[in-house]
Amino acid sequence: MTQPQSVGVVTPRTQRFTEPLLLKSGGRLEEYELVFETYGELNADRSNAVLVCHALSGSHHVAGYYADAPDNVGWWDNLVGPGKPLDTRKFFVIGVNNLGGCYGSTGPTSIDPATGTSYGANFPFVTVEDWVASQARLADVLGIQQFAAVVGGSLGGMQALSWTLQYPNRVANAAVIAAAPKLSAENIAFNEVARQAILTDPDYHDGDYTAHGVVPERGLRLARMVGHITYLSDDAMAEKFGRSLRHGKQVFSYEAEFEIESYLRYQGKKFAGYFDANTYLLTTKALDYFDPAFEYGGNLPAALSRAQADFLVVSFSTDWRFPPERSHEIVQALLHNRRSVSYAEIDSAAGHDSFLLNDAIYHGVLSAYFDRIKVTAHV
């Protein structure tokens, strides 16, 4: 067995779409671009493609690194590569930046052809279903009729689930990781706090901050801070930071005194330096709106009756954002429909973020699942 390796230097590509995309919100994009990366090679009968869907702050840069930025390693590099669970010697793996994103696909920072200025707050609401529809068009362009697997964690897992409902015949396997069939009121509440932090930032300017030459940095920082709290677990925070004081004693100040304060401020500041506020707002709304059972009177088994794929569902013991019980709902609904489904509940201290980490049992489960997917060998 060879050692797991990096896919090496990668180069993003851009695909332009000129056929208008009708959105679930009633909005419409006349034309748009999707930026994506691929790893491995598409086999002759195009049966080995795997789509990796990203979560809130992810991107198309799933694995590898850039020639001019070797430190910019893909967000799921521990999963994708030669000898890794998603083995690029077997699979042709695709990462796509979602519409409305801020990493190159058409989004609020892009130029609106109708006005000649950036969309800003005028970018239409996009949903999980819209993302999946746009990803399907990319699959068309790449000549992929059916994915061997669609894979995602968190919001990415919701896209994987939605794929099986929107295009049942185009997904052979779906790996739905650390996800939920819909957000809880508590989940929406946290998203709303994050949005309000941005919306009430004086630098937000109703979304047209670019025209004012500013960014709502304070809002973004707070949004990221509150988000980060929900990605970690009480145990993980206790272990990592505890009540450690930066000065070794209480100094009675509002400076970052406890290590956890310092950490959250650092994460917030870093995030505000690269992420677009309108993308954050849109993406959290896409999370809130996701609810495939809504049209079925809340009946998830009925909603999932369309699915034809085989499923792997994974949750993490200390994930309180999308706890194991939320995955159980998906598993039970699939079972009701007599679908092929396996479910792993990984014992992890790291909370929601566990899905990004390189845990031996977690990756062992993914390897076991991906290894059993049959694709024709490269010729």
């Binding site: 792997l312 159980h328 598993v331 039970q332 079972l335 009701h336 007599r338 092929s340 489904v341 396996s342 479910y343 792993a344 509940e345 990984i346 014992d347 049992i361 062992g364 489960v365 076991a368 699942y369 290894d371 059993r372």
Partner: protein, 196 residues
């Protein structure tokens, strides 16, 4: 697992083509693999151990990582034709609870377990030691087993709880026992149902 194949064979005889099977404590998924290959069943395994979950996935069967002590609350009434528990009943605290749940979610339950009244086990006790055998491979201080019972005890439990014994087979090291199973059988295999 190959040494337990005799128990798989007998279980397979009770299961029809294309039926739905839940295997509680499915290990590496061998039984469900066997039933899928020989009977074309729609099978689901339940396992708590991560290594077994991985092995089952590799074996190409559906496995759900659930702690059986928490019951089968997520499963619908009568969803399965058969609910199997092979060599796990003795390792579960809530014996009556799990049997009740098996017969709620399944039309029929199949359980196999080591018989503590097997003559070699009795002999071990007479000699002053807890029995250690092919079907009770652990020492008293490291056994995962928490319930120690006999074929006769199990029959009594079924009677007390309105569980109908539709079939029972005793095995002595893989060979079917015809007489005195509580004395001569090291393993009991029961097919259970409810009165209608």
């Amino acid at each position: 697992m190959s040494k337990l194949r005799y128990d798989f064979q007998a279980i397979a005889e009770w299961i029809g083509e294309g039926e739905t099977v839940l295997d509680l404590g499915c290990g590496d998924g061998s039984l469900l693999r066997h039933l899928a290959d020989t009977r074309g069943v729609l099978g689901y395994g339940v396992e708590a151990d991560p290594e077994n979950v991985k092995a089952s996935i590799r074996n190409g069967i559906n496995v759900l990582q659930i702690d059986l002590e928490r019951g089968l609350a997520g499963f619908e009434d009568g969803f399965f034709d058969h609910v199997v528990m092979s060599f796990s009943l003795q390792a579960i605290h809530n014996t009556i609870g799990i049997l009740t749940e098996m017969l709620r979610v399944g039309h029929e339950a199949v359980v196999s377990f080591p018989n503590f009244a097997y003559w070699r086990h009795r002999q071990a006790i007479l000699n002053g030691h807890m029995p250690v055998s092919e079907n009770l491979p652990h020492q008293w201080y490291n056994t995962p087993n928490v319930r120690f019972f006999t074929i006769a005890d199990f029959e009594h439990l079924c009677e007390m709880n309105g569980i109908v014994i539709r079939d029972a087979i005793g095995f002595d090291e893989g060979v079917r026992v015809r007489e005195e199973p509580n004395f001569l059988a090291s393993v009991g295999l029961f097919r259970l149902g409810r009165e209608h």
